[in-house]
Every structure is written in structure tokens, then in C-alpha cells.
Amino acid sequence: MGTVIAVISGKGGVGKTTTTANLGLGIAMNGKKCAIVDFDIGQRNLDMIIGLENRVVYDMVQVMEGECSIPQAIIKSKVNDNLHFLAASQTKDKSVLCSSKVEKLVKELKDSYDVVILDSPAGIESGFEHTIEFADEAIIVVNPEVSSIRDADRAIGILDAKSQKVKQGQEVNKYLIINRINPSMVQSGEMLKSDDILDILNIKLIGKIPEDKSIIDASNQGRPVVLDKKSEAGAAYLRVSKRLCGENVAFVDVESNQASGMLKKLAGIFR
């Protein structure tokens, strides 16, 4: 019996899909069988980011409608055998989802995988609600800016109100990922500090991901940034994946990463 993790944010464009792809691959690299499911029906992106765009034959909606089975619709990743992917439908919209069908799908996935990661759509509409409804844990992705934090706050509020697990009297573990941190801007006080964000949201921090230009290239290439050994963001995602797998990994302060910054500057001089 696996764990179902919903990746949510409230606001769009903060990096939910990138996080899903990287954590999925990171967990798979740790030897666990992981399925990532795109719940953003009508606007699927995850297939491109993990480089499986041209392999999609069946999608999630067809599975739920009974047109095909889950193993038929699942796509294996080219880079790691442990990573499997279930695509969202691009032609339908969110109204095709319904609680009972989602529950059945999530249960079946849960039975055959160690970790199931659901990539939630932006916003707090029905698509979002269906994603969180049957999740055991949630990863909340925020950027260090006020609008993202307020939206995340709202999303957490809805999660606490509508999740099945909460309705049964249990608690949904909530983890915070602060994405796209710009160390120099945090240092100069232009960006919100992590402490302030944690104060407002009041959930456990599982990782800080620094802003990294290589992510854009990685997404375009369809090779998640965790595969890039040189990337700081990739290393940060790998650390989060390990933490999700239960390993105790020391926190690295990405906000005041002075050492590597200095090294880079020196390297620049000697180049």
C-alpha cells in the first residue's frame, strides 16, 4: 500500500509540475516505485517536462471511463524504470471528473505503487478538490512572494476542510517547498524570508529550491533537472526526494549560499 501525495499551490506558475516531475524522478532514483499523475485535465504539461510527450496513447479520463486499463495507459519513463506516468486528457475539461471515479483510480494506483504523486491544477476549483480529496499527504509549493503565499494559505484551508482523511478524523501531512528562491534578493531583503513564510503558513518545511536557469532548459529538453548533477536546484530536489523516502538529510541553506557564489565568481575570473 503506497502513499498518495498531492502537489498543490493555489497560484499558477509557481512550479507544481516541475516539482512533481523532479520529485517523481528523485523518488524513483531512490529505488521506489513511483507513479506521477497529471490531474490538470485540459492543460496537460507534465508529459512534456518528463519527455514523454509523443508516447501518450491513453489518458486518465479514458481509464476512468473504462475504455482502457491502468497498465495500458501507464507510460514508463525512458530514464528510470521505476518512474511511471499517467497523462491527463488534453481534449476534455475538468468537469469530467467525479469523486467516485477518482477514488477508484487513486486506490488502484495506491495498491501497485510505493508513491503516487498527483499534480494538481492551479486554482481551487473542482479539479483541485478532486486532487486533494484522496491524498494522504500534500506538498505545498510556494514562491517567496505575497500572492503565492496567500493562495497557498487558501489552498491549505480547503485541503483541511475537504480531504477525506481529515473527514475521517486523521490528519493530512503537509510539507512546504519554497521554490525559486533568489539568494541575493533574500539577502537584500527584497524577497520574503523563509521564516516569515513558515510563520504565515504554519506547516513543516521539506525543502528550499533556489532559482536556477537550468530548469527552463531542462523542462524544454524533457529531462528533469534532478538528472543534472551540476544544478543547485537539481541537488535541492534530490534532497527533498530523499526526505520523502524517509532519509534524514541535513538542510542546506540555499538562501545564503555564499560559498558557491564566491566560487562561481572566482571561476568566472579565471575562465
Binding site: D151, D153, R154, G157, I158, D199, I200
Partner: protein
């Protein structure tokens, strides 16, 4: 010696059935408002109480001097003898008095209800994070032990105390508030928007006294040493 002379109207009654007497006075009592009621024989406490309550002057067991007998009042036949117009006017008067009484009773009941409600109103204590989008409405007093995030709304009809930072909207109609406010918050106290710049970034007491709002920061008291 001072002396004055009156000619009084006296209603002489002999009670043989107390209930009948009370019933008669309930319906016709107004006619004898200015009469002296002379009761033959002894009277019970019940009748005494009734007459006092209705504000009648009465005497009993006194033999009156011979006077002019105006009317002998007979309960059953009396109605026909009284002038119709007079009766109608009286009825109208009674009716309006009854309505007045009812209105006054309702007003009193409303005041009592409100006081009772106030007395029974319990303090509501909330220990959740009030996240964005949540609205807490309390009819009465509220004690909040956690943060109020931006985008959340708190409404109370009574007093309000929040121990952590407020970033959301506050609508308080009580006479007393105690808050720590961030510059993002929007506070309306008894319909008046409180300027955030007046609320320094620490605990504040906001009170309504004589239609004026007083804001006093809660500062740790320093020891006053003897100079």
C-alpha cells in the same frame, strides 16, 4: 378647623360569590373608577388584594347615612340601562388601553430577552490558524489564540481578543478589542475604520467609551524606582 364637604357616589355591594364579584369588576370596573365601594359584611384577603390592585377606594362594614339611591346595580340587567354611546366609548377606551398594555409588555419582553441573551452568551475560543478565505462570525465575544492570515475575515458582535498577529479583516461591534496588527490588516471597529498607522506593531487595546474610540498600546510596565 378646616372642613370640606363632598357628595360622593357610593357603590354598595354585598358579596356572596367572590368570583362573580371579581368578574363583574373586571368588566364594569371602569364605570366605578371614582366611586367609593362600600362592601357589606367582611371581605376576604383575595378581594382586598384585588381591589387594591385595581386602585379602588373601599370601605366595609360601615352603615352609610341615607343617601339618594341612584341605581341599584344588577349584574345581569345592568347592560340595558347604560347608555349605548357611553358603553361604546368605554369599550373603545378599554381596547386602546389593552393594546397599549400589550405593546408595553412586548417591549419589556424584548429588553428582558436581550439581557438574558447577553447574560447567557458564552465566550467563543478558537485555536485554529485562520487561513485565507475563512470567515469566522461570532454572535458574542471571541478569543482567538492563533494567527489571522491575509484574506481571512473575523466578525463579532461582542468583544474580541486575538493573541497573535492579524493580517486579515476584522469587523468588531463590541466595546473592546485587543489586537496585534500587521500593516496589511483592515480593521473596522463599530463601523469606523481604524487607521493601521495608529496601531503600532504591538499589542493594542481599542476601546469604545462615550462614542469615542481610544487606542492604547499595551506596554510592559517598567519598575518605578525610588529616585
Amino acid at each position: 378647623m378646616k372642613q370640606r364637604q363632598f357628595s360622593l357616589k357610593v357603590l354598595e355591594v354585598e358579596i356572596d360569590n367572590e368570583n362573580e364579584f371579581i368578574e363583574f369588576f373586571d368588566t364594569h370596573g371602569l364605570l366605578f373608577k371614582n366611586h367609593l365601594i362600600s362592601i357589606k359584611g367582611d371581605i376576604s384577603d383575595k378581594i382586598k388584594l384585588y381591589l387594591e390592585e385595581m386602585d379602588f377606594k373601599y370601605i366595609n362594614n360601615i352603615t352609610l347615612p341615607n343617601g339618594k339611591n341612584v341605581k341599584s346595580v344588577d349584574i345581569n340587567q345592568n347592560d340595558n340601562k347604560v347608555d349605548k354611546k357611553e358603553l361604546e366609548a368605554l369599550e373603545e377606551k378599554l381596547k386602546s388601553q389593552a393594546i397599549d398594555c400589550r405593546i408595553k409588555l412586548q417591549e419589556a419582553q424584548a429588553i428582558i430577552n436581550e439581557l438574558e441573551k447577553k447574560a447567557n452568551r458564552e465566550l467563543v475560543v478558537v485555536d485554529d490558524m485562520v487561513r485565507s478565505g475563512r470567515e469566522i462570525t461570532v454572535d458574542g465575544d471571541l478569543l482567538l489564540l492563533n494567527r489571522v492570515n491575509s484574506g481571512a475575515t473575523i466578525k463579532t458582535t461582542g468583544n474580541l481578543i486575538i493573541t497573535q498577529v492579524v493580517e486579515g479583516a476584522i469587523r468588531c461591534d463590541g466595546s473592546f478589542m485587543m489586537l496585534t496588527v500587521s500593516p496589511k490588516a483592515n480593521i473596522i471597529f463599530n463601523g469606523v475604520e481604524v487607521d493601521n498607522s495608529l496601531l503600532q506593531d504591538k499589542l493594542n487595546r481599542i476601546e469604545l467609551k462615550d462614542n469615542k474610540i481610544y487606542i492604547t498600546p499595551v506596554i510592559k510596565k517598567e519598575i518605578n524606582w525610588v529616585q
